[in-house]
């Protein structure tokens, strides 16, 4: 189902959480919402799910205004950062619960529910673990159960609230691949809230960057990278060096696109920081001090105190 947000405003007491957010998510699209903490991305997700009320504007799911529809009746799959599994139920019962409690008219037969649960467990690669309780599962496995539970009710849209935020990096990579695979197979309209831009870039068709309750820019990762709408978007997409430009604006440069040539030059290396297959040099150039990232081990000619020339020939310079 498509989701249409039209001029959504939401206030918490005197604080404005969302102001005038409009967004169109096409049927089957995977959209990522990124932004710093407190930018309103989770609130937006909870509004769509109906877990938060009292907003201005319209939310349409599949063309229907869902304003008067309570969360219980919206048929939305929601995955929470902290899994939110029911602790006193096994994994299989957690998944089946949403189906078992339906009124008789819409409830599948017990055998159908069991089959559906087995299918879902296989889909999230947890075959055979249905009888375990949540506390007997690892974080990654719990999140898989939560995902299966969200899918069990045959949702119209899938909302993921930092689903991988509480997991270790290797598990995160594994689950990322699974999420992408699931989206390809099921084609559900999906909204992902995340801090991790890499995750957003890998999984989503489009990315919406939120800042202080407004959408700063929306587009594919390539668009955001090539034509950032603001210094904020540029800075959010990666490290940046900000230097005053002659026209009074600021010039923004990626630290890994700057070159350093050892030898006599106006710039001085202040410090060298080791990284993984890369080295970060803190450089003083006239009144400006900034970091430059070069691939590989520290260059012997670029030790602290050495002079060098800064090479901007390969750098994209964005002015903001």
């Amino acid at each position: 189902m498509s989701i249409t947000l039209d001029r959504i405003c939401k206030r918490h007491g005197s604080a404005t959480v969302l102001s005038d957010v409009s967004l169109d998510i096409a049927r089957g699209e995977f959209l990522a919402l990124v932004g710093p903490s407190g930018s309103g991305k989770t609130t937006l997700l909870r509004l769509i799910a109906g877990l938060e009320r009292d907003y201005d504007g319209t939310i349409r799911i599949g063309g229907t205004d869902v304003g008067p529809i309570p969360a219980r009746e919206r048929r939305i799959g929601f995955v929470f950062q902290n899994y939110a599994l029911f602790r006193h139920m096994t994994a299989a019962d957690n998944i089946a619960f949403g189906l078992r409690v339906r009124p008789r008219a819409t409830r599948p037969a017990a055998a159908d529910i069991a089959r559906r649960v087995a299918e879902l467990l296989a889909l999230v690669q947890l075959d055979g673990l249905g009888t375990r309780y949540p506390h007997q599962l690892s974080g990654g496995q719990r999140q898989r159960v939560a995902l299966a539970r969200a899918l069990a009710i045959d949702p119209q849209v899938l909302l993921l609230d930092e689903p991988l935020g509480a997991l270790d990096p290797p598990i995160r990579v594994e689950l990322r691949a699974m999420l992408r695979d699931l989206h390809l197979r099921l084609g559900l309209t999906t909204l992902l809230v995340t801090h991790d831009l890499g995750e957003a870039a890998e999984l989503s068709d489009r990315i919406a960057v939120l800042r202080a309750g407004r959408i700063e820019q929306i587009g594919t990762i390539a668009t955001l990278d090539a034509t950032p709408a603001s210094a904020f978007v540029f800075g959010f997409l990666g490290d940046s060096i900000s230097l005053p430009a002659p026209d009074g604006k600021r010039a923004l440069i990626r630290p890994d696109e700057v070159g350093l040539t050892p030898g006599d030059g106006p710039a001085v290396i202040i410090a060298v920081h080791l990284g993984i297959r890369q080295t970060r040099y803190t450089v003083q150039h006239g009144p400006h001090r900034f970091d430059v990232v070069l691939r590989g081990a520290p260059h012997p000619g670029l030790a602290a105190g050495a002079h060098c020339t800064v090479d901007l020939s390969a750098a994209r310079i964005v002015s903001a």
């Binding site: 929470f80 029911f86 339906r102």
Partner: protein, 350 residues
């Protein structure tokens, strides 16, 4: 149009000394700040210049900037300092307190309505109602409370009998201690003390259980899965509370009567006489009236405990606060209801 020429070093001390003067001039608007004669300039000076620039609505101009000053100023400007965080909210005014209390009352009424609706719709939502939860709660709130209820009942019986014995004996009326204590237990103290135990043991547990689920977003998960949290979580606890409290009240009354009998027998009154007095005094209306009150208190304590859990806020202390609110609310509601029931029973002539 003010023209201000600063002298001396514009460092922390110098900037502070010039601050009031410069800012006052800046707020009047149209300020030309001449830094040609200064002997030092650091980030404090830059902060002064930038603050003046912000405060000055129009016509701000800088003169006599050297290369060093320009560089420092550019660096500080580049920091893009975020505004200081908003100060913590001031203490609430009495209007706000009254407003908050009124909205809490409204929410309480709304919750009561929700519970009533959930009871009414129970036939259609049978499968959301978990019998296992009901039995588990009845076990925790009822069966496991029996030792405590027995102990409290026995001690209350002993204390009441002893206390009333002293003055009654002066009038030679010590045999009527049996009447006093047994009627007091059946009508008032049995139900009341049972409800207090329930509030302390189970009201807080309900709040903590449901509050933890709320903090873990399990209540949100229930909502997105199409499940009514009141039917699934509140009703089993409410029904268990209603069923279990009268039983506990009976146990407490029996234990209390036993305690009283022990005291009277120890003071030379034969137990057959005590039994006679009790049977002649306590009529079924007293006993069943007391049980009705116990059921009512049980409902109030359970409902308030669950309500505290559902209303749990954010943060690490929220569950603890809810548990406290459940106990306090449960006991206050019990005593208030007891007062109401006293008037009702009096009017009905019971």
């Amino acid at each position: 149009m003010a023209d201000l020429r600063l002298t001396g070093a514009l460092d922390v001390a110098g900037a502070a000394a010039h601050w009031t003067e410069v800012m006052a001039a800046a707020r009047r608007g149209g300020l030309v700040l001449d830094l040609g004669a200064i002997e030092g300039f650091d980030t404090a000076g830059a902060a002064l210049v930038l603050a003046a620039e912000r405060a000055c609505k129009s016509g701000f101009e800088l003169k006599g900037l050297g290369e060093r000053e320009t560089a420092v100023l550019a660096r500080v400007r580049g920091l893009d300092v975020p505004p200081p965080p908003a100060p913590p909210p001031a203490a609430q005014s009495w209007r706000q307190v009254i407003g908050a209390s009124a909205s809490a009352c409204v929410q309480g009424v709304a919750y009561l309505g929700e519970v009533v609706v959930a009871v009414g719709r129970l036939p259609a939502r049978q499968r959301m109602f978990r019998w296992m939860d009901l039995l588990r709660t009845a076990d925790q709130a009822g069966v496991q409370a029996i030792p405590l209820v027995l102990l409290m009942g026995l001690l209350v019986g002993v204390i009441l009998a002893f206390q009333s014995m002293v003055p009654m004996r002066r009038f030679g009326a010590d045999i009527y201690v049996a009447n006093l204590v047994s009627i007091g237990l059946a009508r008032e103290l049995g139900p009341l003390l049972t409800a207090v135990i329930l509030a302390g043991r189970s009201g807080s547990a309900f709040a903590a259980e449901i509050g933890t689920m709320k903090v873990n977003q399990e209540l949100d998960a229930l909502a997105t899965m199409g499940i009514d949290a009141v039917t699934m979580l509140v009703l089993p606890r409410l029904i268990a509370g209603v069923l279990v409290t009268p039983v506990l009240a009976v146990i407490m009354e029996m234990a209390g009567s036993l305690g009283m009998t022990l005291v009277l027998v120890a003071n030379g009154i034969p137990w057959t006489v005590v039994a006679n007095q009790v049977v002649a005094t306590v009529v079924p209306a007293d006993f069943f009236g007391g049980l009705f009150k116990a059921a009512l208190f049980g409902a109030a304590v359970s409902a308030i405990g669950c309500r505290a859990g559902i209303g749990t806020g954010q943060g690490p202390r929220a569950v603890g606060l809810s548990a406290t609110a459940a106990v306090v609310g449960g006991i206050v509601a019990t005593i208030a209801l007891d007062g109401v029931m006293a008037v009702v029973f009096f009017r009905l002539g019971l």
